[in-house]
């Protein structure tokens, strides 16, 4: 589910359905996030939207808004700017070294370049989770 959903009533049509993802893609992203969280013990989250300059700082600021930033991994995707940022917290960084994050970023960027946002996110999460290993 998306983070904003819970503030709205359950009957209202979630805004996320008007986004670029089909229902099937949303389900796959949800599944990937849940699997990544439960296997690694870290908290993964995905942001898709514009990032302000400087992009890296904006992504880090979003990451800092997560409940437990040090154990969290944020994947921020900006399709307009064609930019991707992966932010790992201090603890998460020990599990996912920057080199592995870069590897996941490369494969995600390759998918995004082909126009496959959902697939790129899912495969990136999968890579990050497998690099992090089991908790």
């Amino acid at each position: 589910m998306t983070v904003g959903d819970q503030t709205r009533s359950l009957t209202a049509r979630p805004e996320v359905l008007d986004g670029p993802f089909t229902t099937r893609q949303l389900l796959r992203i949800d599944e990937a996030l849940r699997l990544a969280d439960s296997t690694t013990g870290l908290t993964f989250s995905v942001y898709v939207g514009d990032l302000d300059e400087p992009v890296r700082q904006h992504a880090e600021k979003l990451h800092a808004q997560l409940p437990d930033p040090s154990h969290s991994v944020l994947v921020a995707v900006s399709p307009n700017q064609r930019l991707l940022e992966i932010v790992t917290g201090a603890e998460a960084r020990k599990r996912i070294p920057d080199r592995d994050a870069k590897l996941a970023a490369l494969s995600m960027a390759a998918s995004f370049g082909g126009g496959d946002l959902g697939g790129g996110i899912v495969s990136g999460l999968d890579q990050l989770a497998s690099h992090a290993g089991r908790s």
């Binding site: 983070v3 996320v16 898709v48 939207g49 992504a59 600021k61 399709p79 064609r82 992966i86």
Partner: protein, 106 residues
């Protein structure tokens, strides 16, 4: 075969087929544009933020993160001292040992 029949067979029928397929293509092209993201095309969707289980992370639910609008950047970020930064990652200054990760573009 008369001239009329020949023309009808070898010109009329192909033209008819072309017209049918052209019409089909035109009709399907007139639909609303696909939602799918394509690189290079503007991306005009509301920002979304996915978390697997926000309700578990926020038992109180009060200060849950909200999607739907673009996040303001660096609005309330405190100024950082230059001494506490390293500039190893592509020239971007970050607090020492705070966050890691990677960047890429496509």
């Amino acid at each position: 075969m008369s001239v009329l029949e020949t023309v009808g067979t070898f010109v009329g029928i192909p033209l008819l087929i072309v017209a049918v397929f052209g019409g089909l293509a035109y009709a399907s092209g007139g639909r609303a544009q696909s939602k799918r993201y394509r690189p290079g095309r503007p991306f005009e969707f509301t920002p979304v933020w996915f978390l697997s289980s926000p309700e578990r992370l926020h038992p109180d639910g009060a200060q849950a993160l909200t999607g739907g609008e673009q996040r303001p950047a660096l609005a309330d970020e405190p100024a950082q001292g230059a001494g506490s930064q390293d500039v190893t990652r592509q020239g971007v200054a970050t607090p020492l040992g705070a966050t890691g990760g990677a960047s890429d573009r496509w």
